[in-house]
């Protein structure tokens, strides 16, 4: 029994070239033959293959960050009746490269009052969770760095590490705007961790495993259909987790300058931006893996291709919402999480629990039946929670006596003491 990545032909070739594995998938050898390394050195073959895999995946994701930055700016331009970047390279495709070069050569300023260690460490720590999430995402058949049996738990745990980086950046800058941004980010991220984790429980009940590979394998029907409410909650929560509009209060340009990275310049700022865009791409990847059946599809396109094709509409929708919806206030965001999303997530957990109790090991037909029931639950529960909020009441501060605004006082009556 060889490592899991032998399902991928590229990595199988590298591995089987090097090692004398007795795995059945290695029987044909690699491009160059079989067993270049002597027996007993399978670990070295494994190490080399793993390093190659890591390099390939990390560089592909970093490259796709550049493409995504370009695509987002072009799309935002379209949505706002502008052209977007269009001068440097065909259709402006080289603009992110020019930006990267500019960022690299800019002066790196550290404020005098800053806490130097914290200030310098923050951007690096920001990059770490994005890189680590990369490991467990199944990009296609056999194309993953590690098939952790706690993959989803790992993702939820690791992504919340970026909160530390934001707090460190805000604190280390010794800047009020940065601190405000950091505090908002913490309040928001802590709130949205809960519905995010809860919304995945329904998926876990269906898949019976925390491993992302098993979740993908369990999706004979894509879980966006079987778990529509869970998808809705997870999508909103993950948009909030990656600090994007309409939840981008942490770096609200019009209020806080640039929020927690106000004082950063040069490549440290570049790392923050890079980490944010990487987080966007990776959260789209998680959504594809968990809800859109990952790399599964018809055979005429390889599974990695299916994965990327499915990521495109998710990313497009994230950009589309950014162009369309205004930024929420911080209290509206928190109210939405605690009074709306968590309730919806709990409803989803309860319904999923009942359904998986009725059909413990669902067949495809039973999955479709579950999908129909869950769509009914989605409509009813969203309408119910929405009407409980009511139009215009979300987050409105209430006065003690129940009115949202103080009543005009009758003339002649002394002020104070009207209870």
């Amino acid at each position: 029994m060889g490592p899991n990545f032998l399902d991928n032909s590229f990595f199988r070739n590298i591995y089987c070239n090097l090692s004398e594995s007795d795995d059945i998938r290695c029987s044909g050898g690699g491009w160059l033959g079989d067993g270049l390394l002597p027996g007993g050195f399978e670990w070295l073959a494994f190490l080399i293959t793993a390093i190659v895999m890591a390099m390939v995946l990390i560089n592909l994701v970093l490259g796709s960050v550049l493409i995504f930055i370009w695509a987002e700016r072009r799309l935002l331009g379209r949505f706002q009746s502008r052209s977007g970047p269009n001068r440097w390279g065909p259709y402006g495709t080289l603009t992110p490269v020019a930006d990267a070069i500019k960022t690299l050569f800019k002066e790196d300023i550290v404020p005098t009052a800053a806490d130097r260690w914290v200030f310098n460490a923050a951007p690096i720590i920001m990059m770490v969770p994005a890189m680590m999430v990369l490991a467990v995402i199944p990009w296609g058949t056999g194309t993953f760095l590690a098939d952790l049996n706690i993959g989803i738990l790992f993702i939820i745990a690791i992504t919340s590490l970026s909160t530390f980086a934001i707090v460190m950046a805000g604190w280390g800058s010794q800047n009020r705007y940065a601190m405000f941004g950091a505090m908002r980010a913490v309040a928001m991220l802590i709130s949205y961790e809960i519905p995010m984790a809860l919304s995945l429980i329904g998926v876990l009940m269906l898949a019976g495993s925390l491993s992302l590979v098993s979740v993908v394998n369990a999706q004979d029907v894509p879980f966006i259909l079987v778990q529509p409410l869970g998808f809705l909650v997870f999508f909103i929560a993950s948009v909030a987790e990656i600090n994007r509009a309409p939840f981008d209060v942490a770096e609200a340009e019009s209020e806080l300058g640039a929020g927690y990275h106000s004082d950063y310049s040069g490549m440290k700022f570049g790392l923050f931006v890079n980490a944010e865009f990487m987080a966007t791409i990776l959260s789209a990847a998680v959504i594809v893996a968990v809800f859109l059946s990952g790399g599964r599809g018809w055979d005429f396109i390889p599974s990695q291709g299916w994965f990327i094709i499915k990521m495109v509409p998710v990313l497009f929708f994230i950009v589309w919402t950014r162009a369309s919806w205004p930024r929420l206030r911080i209290d509206q965001i928190l109210t939405f999480a605690w009074k709306g999303l968590i309730i919806l997530a709990f409803i989803n957990v309860a319904v999923s629990a009942i359904l998986s109790f009725v059909w413990p090991d669902p067949s495809t037909a039973e999955l479709w039946l579950m999908a129909a029931i869950n769509f009914g639950v989605l409509i009813v529960s969203v309408l119910a929670v929405g009407s409980w909020f009511g139009p215009g009441t979300a987050g409105t501060p209430k006065m003690a006596h129940g009115d949202s605004l103080p009543r005009p006082r009758p003339a002649g009556q002394p002020s104070g003491g009207d209870s």
Partner: protein
């Protein structure tokens, strides 16, 4: 219903995206192969064969074409058109200029007095660095010799370069704006077509030709 506003917002932006950008990318915009071929008036295939170098450049996205807003014929820019042949050197423009930025120096010419009082124009400086383009000089010109121009790209690096000299005025292409010149507008003249307006076709009261004079002064009597 609750939440419909979100979808309305999405619809609005999507409509804008489908409608496409409205930006005029002055002074030029980048075009692909199709746009470059349309610009030179060839089909893309002909363009590829006849000018392969330009075609490759355009396909790589490095070709540019001019992109400007079309100006109205009455648009008056930041320059002047002056007809040497029509000017008598009366200096009405200089006298009426509220800012006194027109400087005219004349010398007697060899023209007979019977042919009209015409002087040599030695200096005709218009300092557009201080000009407010009110157009009074154009309005008062009795011989329709001075016109507002239709160009507007007259940026310079130094103030002294903003002074329009008589040589520049003489050498300039005559594309006068039809502002305050109804006779040109009536003739359907468009300065942005690039057509040169001759001096004897620019005024309100053109000098009658010899045949007309003969008819008026000889035949009718």
């Amino acid at each position: 219903m609750i939440g419909l506003g979100l979808f309305n917002g999405l619809v609005v932006t999507m409509k804008a995206a489908i409608r496409g950008p409205v930006t005029v990318q002055y002074p030029d915009r980048r075009v692909g192969l199709l746009g470059a071929a349309r610009e030179v008036g060839l089909s893309p295939f002909q363009f590829l064969i006849k000018r392969p170098k330009d075609a490759v450049k355009a396909a790589a996205g490095f070709a540019t074409v001019e992109d400007k807003v079309k100006q109205a014929p009455r648009f008056r820019g930041q320059d002047f058109n002056w007809y040497e042949e029509r000017c008598t050197g009366c200096a009405s423009c200089a006298k009426f200029c509220p800012l006194g930025i027109i400087k005219i120096e004349t010398s007697p010419s060899a023209t007979l007095e019977s042919e009209g009082e015409v002087y040599n124009i030695d200096v005709f400086d218009i300092d557009i660095g201080r000009c407010m383009f009110c157009g009074i000089c154009v309005e008062v010109c009795p011989y329709d010799a001075l016109h507002m121009g239709s160009g507007f790209e007259s940026g310079q690096y130094e103030r002294k370069d903003l002074v329009i000299t008589v040589d520049e005025l003489k050498a300039k292409k005559k594309t006068p704006s039809t502002w305050f010149r109804p006779q040109m507008e009536a003739a359907g003249y468009d300065p942005h077509s690039g057509e040169d307006r001759p001096w004897d076709d620019a005024g309100r009261h053109e000098q009658p030709g010899d045949e007309k004079l003969t008819e008026r002064w000889v035949n009718d009597r």
